[in-house]
Each structure stands twice: as C-alpha cells, then as structure tokens.
C-alpha cells in the first residue's frame, strides 16, 4: 500500500463520522508480514492520531492499533520504537504454531526452506514482557492434527497464557481427521487437567459455549461489520473477499477510497442471520452451538454468487470437538468438585474467544 492510498482511506473514514458511529475503533494491520512495513505503519498511525485530534473525532482516545506478526523482526530497533511509542493503544500478537516441528511445517523461509521457529521463539520473552496478556492464534489444518496436544502444552510452557486455536473452515479434511482431532483433544484435556494448567492457562478449543442446539439466530462471522482496505484502495467487507483470498469466485468489492462505501452492497452482510443461510440439517443439529463459519469461505464455495449459503466442510470436526469438550468439562468439574475448588474456578476462570478467523 502506498502512503497516498493509506492517507485517502483514513481521510475517508474519519470524514464520514456518521457512517461509522461505533464508540471505538480498531485499526488492524495485516500482511503478508505487516512489520516489514513498520515505517509506513508508523506514519499511518501518526496521521490517524493527528487527524482524530484535529477533527475532534469521537474515536480520539477510544482506539486501538492491532498487528498480527510472525514475530521474526520483533526485536528490530524501528519495530521496538514503534511499539514503545504506541504501547498504550497497541495490541500485538505473535503467531507461533506450537512445537518447532509443528511450527516449521507451514512457516518456512522462501528460498532456503528453513523453518522460522528458532527466529520467532527467541523473541517471545520480550513480547510477553511488553504484552503480558496477549494470546497467540493457531489455525489447524489436516496435517497439523497430530501435533495439537504437544503444541498447546509447548505454548503454555513458553509463558503464553491464552492459545486461540481453531480448525480452518476450508474443505481440507480427510477421512478419519475427526477421530485424530478428538484423540488429540482428549489427550490435551488430560494434560491440562492432570497438570493443573487450567488454573492459569486456556485453550479456546475448550469452551462451555459449544454443543447443544442453536439458541439464537445471530450471524457467526463479522464480515460487513468491519471495513477492509487493500493496497489499491478497494473496500471489502473482510479481507477474505479480496481476490487473493478467493479460489473460485471473483472479488466482492463494496467501494473504494474515491467513491466511498456502496451501502447497498453492504446491506446483505448486515442482514445475515444464522437460519437464513443454514441448511435444515444445520438448523436442527443437536450440537449446533459454536459451529462456526467464514462468510468468505461460504461465498467462495456457494453454488451461486451468494453469501447466503453456508459451507459445512467443518461439520465432522465440530462434532469431534464437541465430544472432546464434553469429556474435558465433565472431567474438570468432577475434579474441582472433589477438591472443593469449583466455586473459585468459576469465579476466576479465563474467558477465551470462542472462535477466530
């Protein structure tokens, strides 16, 4: 993204205060690897702060900057300068996938093919010192399944207290993957409970909110409630609708920095509910709660150009997750009751994000 595009995007957003009435805002920088462009991000953040002040904008002092990084250049001087300058308004997550073996399956340097684990893990202590409450997020694909238990425990051992983990929504799942997921999660449940990790650590695979029939009609995904801007200045309801994120469909643009947002194209996103886009089988599913979807993936796999047809590729993985959750919560609460600690646990338990993109 050029500075000119970034500036025009900020100008558009801040000068249309009525179109963005939300109390607060998160300015999220995603890549590729965003910290490779830390100079540009720094300039953008300065401009946002200055503009909000000059406009007496209602987001002034009610904003955050958010960055998800692979963590490789975390300790570089200019990155550190940026962090220190914006620390009180900055959320910064490092994506580390687990053990070295697991991490280096997917995160390798172009050319050499060498894994990046060693270059990331050495930056974790400083990161946790600066952002002690930060979590890491891990997405699970078919080939990652055998490493779930050891990876989560490894991340806990690095001092990361919250591991947000979810299965990808794409149709990558092979026969028997649900059994592997369930087996790994049962093993993880035993490790967390038997070693008392549950007292200080949390993994989002385990949540009391999943399983059981649908209770509400809310949409799962936040597409349309955010605004994504690409390097050319096009607007999307989420980056998942940009061309580079889609396999089958054309990009779904809802405006640009010159013409603004086409509100008619945004309407379908803001009218999405659970039942309108779900099959009868999903609506009636006895363990539907917590079974999520990605609107972009739904769009990409739909039989027509619609966001109103839900992809169900994750179905058997969700059901496996529900079974493992049943085991986890039954085992944990029985232990807590026997040890007389249930009440205290309920009072202090860490709330984790149910799902992440």
């Amino acid at each position: 993204m050029t500075w000119n595009v970034a500036k025009k995007a900020i100008d558009y957003i801040l000068s249309h205060e009525n179109s963005f009435p939300e109390k607060s805002v998160i300015w999220d920088f995603i890549g590729g690897e965003p910290l490779l462009e830390v100079d540009l991000i720094d300039k953008i953040c300065d401009y946002i702060k200055m503009s909000m002040y000059e406009l007496n904008h209602h987001w002034f002092d009610s904003y955050r900057f958010s960055i998800s990084t692979n963590g490789i250049n975390y300790c570089e001087e200019k990155v550190q300068n940026f962090i220190k300058k914006n620390l009180s308004h900055l959320s910064l997550g490092i994506t580390i996938d687990g053990t070295e073996k697991k991490h280096d399956i997917n995160r390798i340097y172009k050319g050499s093919g060498k894994g990046s684990y060693a270059d990331v893990v050495r930056n974790i202590p400083l990161w946790l010192k600066q952002f002690p409450n930060e979590s890491t997020k891990v997405t699970i694909s078919s080939e990652d399944l055998p490493y779930i238990e050891e990876s989560v425990i490894h991340l806990f051992s690095l001092g990361i207290h919250e591991v947000n983990m979810n299965c990808v929504y794409e149709n990558v799942w092979k026969e028997g993957d649900d059994i592997i997921l369930e087996t790994q999660m049962l093993k993880l449940a035993d490790s967390i409970i038997d070693n008392n990790y549950y007292k200080d650590f949390a993994c989002s695979l385990f949540s009391e909110q999943i399983g059981g029939p649908l209770l509400d009609n809310q949409n799962w995904c936040g597409a349309g409630k955010m605004l994504a801007i690409d390097a050319a200045g096009n607007f999307y309801p989420c980056t998942r609708f940009a061309k580079y994120s889609l396999r089958e469909k054309n990009e779904l643009v809802i405006g640009n920095i010159k013409e603004g947002i086409n509100k008619n194209k945004l309407r379908p996103f803001l009218c999405l509910d659970s039942r309108t886009q779900s099959s009868y089988e999903c609506i009636k599913c006895e363990v539907a709660q917590g079974c999520g979807w990605c609107q972009g993936e739904n769009y990409d796999t739909a039989e027509t150009n619609t966001i109103y047809q839900r992809s169900t590729a994750i179905c058997k993985m969700h059901k496996a997750r529900v079974r493992a959750n049943n085991y986890y919560w039954n085992k944990l609460y029985r232990k807590l009751e026997l040890e007389g600690e249930r009440e205290e646990f309920e009072k202090n338990k860490r709330e984790v994000k149910l799902e992440i993109c």
């Binding site: 379908p268 999405l272 309108t276 150009n305 619609t306």
Partner: protein
Amino acid sequence: MLQYLIILLDKESVSFCGLTPSPSPKGERSCLIPLDTLKQGIRFGMIENLMIQYVYPDYELPAEYSKVIESIDHSKIKPMKDGADVWVTGSIKDIKADVSVVWRTDKQSLFNSEADIISALENVPRLNVVLTDVETFTDEDFENYRSLLNAFAEHIEKLYLEGISSQLNLLTDRMMFSKINNCGAGDTTITLAPNGKFYVCPAFYYEDETDSIGDLEHGLDIKNKQLYKLDYAPICRHCDAWQCKRCIWLNRKTTLEVNTPSHEQCVLAHLERNASRELLNNIRKHGTFLPEQEEIKEIDYLDPFDKRNTWL
C-alpha cells in the same frame, strides 16, 4: 411452488419490467422462438400445471404460431393494444384502453407527467407504472415521488366518490392485499426464452444469456432456489409494503444478492405504502370501503433495513 411460465416469443419481446434491454445491433434480425421450442414450452407448462404468459415482440407473428399459442389457456403481454391482455407502452400521453396498461418510465418522465397520468386513470381500467431507474433515486427524488403519490391519491379518492374504481398499482394494490404480492421470479414464476432455456425472469435473460436455470431438454436446475422465497429474504419477510415489486433482478444488480433489496427500492415501496394508507383512511371517511381489509399501520421508517436490530 411454481405457478407461472412466462414465454418470450422473441428475443425482442417487449420488456414489461424495470430492465431496458440493450437494442440489438443494427441489421441484426429478431430471433423468433422456434415453433418446436414453443410447443415444448407449452407442454412443459401443461405438465407442471403452470399458467402461461406470452410476451410479444412489436411485429406480427407468422400465421402458424397462432394455433400453437392458442392451444393452452394463457394471457398476452403485448407492445400493442390489439389482442393484448396487458398492453406495455412507453408513452402515457392520451392513452385509452379497456385492458391493463403497463407504462415503463424513468423518474424524470414520471415527474413531468402528472396530468397525463391523472387523465389515464380515467381512461384505463388499470395502470401499472414501472420505473426503469429505481437505483438512481436521490433524497430529492424521493420527496418528488411522495408529492406525486399524494396528488394521485387525491385524484383517485375523487374518482371513488364518483363511483369510478380506478386502479394505479403504486397506490391501490397495497389497499387490496393481505400479504406480499410480487413477481415471484425464481419462486412462483420462471421464464422460457427463445433459445429453449429457462431464466429466473426476462431481465436475467436480457442481461446475460448464459445465466440460465435449466432448459427444456434437461429440465429446471435452480441453484439456491430457497433464496428466491420470501422466508429467505431477511428484509422482505419482515416488511408489509406488500405492493412492492421486490424485483429479484434489481436486488442482484444493486446489492449482489437476489434476496436483498436496495435502499432505493425499499424507500419507494414505503412511500407508496404510506400514501396507500392515507388514501385508504381518506376513502373510509366517506363510508364503508374494503371492510375485510385491516388498517395499514402507521410506521416511523421508510427503509426496514434501519429497523433490523428489532428482528436480527
């Protein structure tokens, strides 16, 4: 459930909805539906128990078509008055007919034709005004539209008092309906084009011939067909502007989804709804009128999308 089959007798059949098809290149001949395709279409309609609506081009069909056309109960939509059940015209001036008239117009012509429309209301049993540029309406246009509807309502009220039951779709339909009544494209109605393929509606064919939903040889194949139904239209299923066209083609054009109307379509439909409410209340002041119809409630919005938090 399917109920209607629209058969376009020619590629140049008259448009009776919001889409204005691009004119064929100069010198290109019209494309009349092959007689065999027409027969197969009629057979399909009979088997599926569908009411057939023929849409005519602006020239006389070859004599051999007449017998085939008459082989099933049907209605005729024509760009000429003679022999039409519905006459589609591009001009409102001095019209007189004893059949229903569809006047396709852009907003500017509509705003400039108040007197002609008022005159037409006395000379045709039913006038359907179809706007061809709904998506271009601005706030100023909405105000003009509101004023125009009020003027028409005043005149229709006078006609009722004189014993003349004049029908103008924009105003009198809502008073008569007890539930939504729209074109039903893809749900209750499908279209057969001269190429032997089925389409959601004529506009889908005129816009992109590859956008078909099956053909006579292999039958219908409507992907995501539930999305054409009211239950799967998140805004419309909560709406009581029952006279709204709920134009599926315009939905897709403006919002990219067949089940989601544009802001402009919703506001126009609600201006009509509210004007119908006024008209109904005013006529009822003179005596009993449509006693079986419930009152149209007063509402504080023009676009139900703005009230989505009450039903989401």
